[in-house]
Symmetry: C2
Subunit: 256 residues, 2 copies
């Protein structure tokens, strides 16, 4: 199975759903479900069982409805995912930060990290074209505000926000995958490693990879069984922000 895709159907229909501008029907029976109810159920399932568990049948079951009923409310699964995404982006606190751009970008990174950790299924949805709902818009606005007025061009502002978001996405993805593989395999990283080492020693000459052996061992000793994702996140975020800092400083004193 590969990635889920956020929708790319009829824009009018998608935006109607995202902004809750669906004209309510005048005739016929009252709808038994609501868009909100379906999204809530879908989120409950996705949070608990991952995106793989969130099938249309499963969501419908959760609501006591037939599978095809959901297609009265959403054109397809992709559009349901779109609304789910915009909904969870609404959970971002978007706190006001007293401080410079770095403090603000740091907050952006941490808020996004929390969100991904709370809804890991988000990491498996490809959103190259974001659902243009109210919360996605607010998120972009908030993130740009962190780097507004510090001497960057508009393009650089967008690049910087994308860089930080991309970094967080990747870091959390790695951490979540590490967490999930422990559950799925019933093995900690250390156990997994210890199960491989004897076979590796027998098969390949470990002496061919001196650096890998040395550093691998050091990493294994320092961060025991559970891969230390907090450490990796802090290290990487610091490097990324240092990199942005170098650019900001260059822009603030143009030429010597």
């Amino acid at each position: 199975m590969n990635k889920e895709y956020s929708g790319s159907g009829d824009p009018a229909k998608s935006l109607e759903l995202l902004w809750r501008r669906r004209p309510e029907p005048t005739r016929g029976p009252k709808p038994a479900l609501t868009v909100e109810g379906i999204v809530e159920a879908a989120l409950r399932i996705a949070d608990a069982e991952g995106i793989a568990g969130m099938s249309m049948r499963r969501v419908a079951d959760e609501l006591g409805a037939g599978a095809m009923t959901l297609y009265r409310y959403f054109p397809g699964k992709a559009e349901l995912l779109d609304v789910m995404l915009d909904t969870v982006y609404g959970e971002l606190p978007r706190r006001e930060v007293d401080g410079d751009w770095r403090a603000k970008l740091d907050e952006v990174a941490r808020e996004n990290r929390e969100l991904y950790l709370r809804h890991p299924w988000m990491l498996q949805v490809a959103i190259s074209r974001p659902p243009l709902g109210p919360n996605v818009m607010a998120k972009y606005e908030y993130e740009l505000a962190a780097v507004e007025g510090i001497g960057l061009t508009d393009i650089e502002m967008d690049d910087t926000v994308a860089l930080v978001n991309g970094y967080v996405h990747g870091a959390v993805r790695t951490a979540v995958e590490a967490r999930q593989v422990i559950q799925r395999s019933g093995m900690t990283d250390k156990e997994w490693w210890l199960a491989h080492v004897p076979h590796l020693d027998q098969i390949g000459d470990t002496k061919n990879y001196p650096l890998a052996s040395r550093v691998g061992t050091a990493v294994g000793n320092e961060f025991d069984a559970p891969y230390d994702s907090d450490h990796a996140f802090e290290y990487g975020l610091e490097r990324v922000l240092d990199g942005v800092s170098a650019l900001v400083e260059k822009r603030s004193r143009p030429k010597p």
Copy 2:
């Protein structure tokens, strides 16, 4: 559908496959297929049609065999993916670079980028526990060599390599998704945007998102229809390496 998972079955069996140490059978009919042949066919399909197209039946068809035949050579799809991964890592040129650590890390980033672009399906395989084959080992060794002897601790070396790899992974994923969504939807980014704007204007007050509007427009004007992934890659890589540079310099003059 969610991600594919690289295998976590029997270590002995997996390593045998990766290092080609399968004892060849003495009795019975000669096998009609080979591990190499299956991997080749699977790679051909995955490269051309993506990971979603690479089903066991599809690979077997390509080889003129029954679907279940593949399970004589691989315990399951996960193990086939493992061998596919290690195989393509073997394509990395791992060039010797004359220059400092930055030039070397830059080369690492670019080589990995090329590999991902050539085999985009790699981005949809979760490899929290890498297949410990010869090429994965060589890759890790090569990458560590870039940051050896510049004053970083072993842990920092691993963190740095992981940071660069993570950055490249994320950047290429974004670029590939952008490329694929154009194919899938038959719409360029600009067309997609223009299809949404009138509805957005009608529904939500664009005035609530001044920064998003301004920067969004600037980005749209600067990088036309196809999302300029080259630009984003170069920008981000420079920031990341600048960030690493700040650390290296701090380590090289310990305290003032």
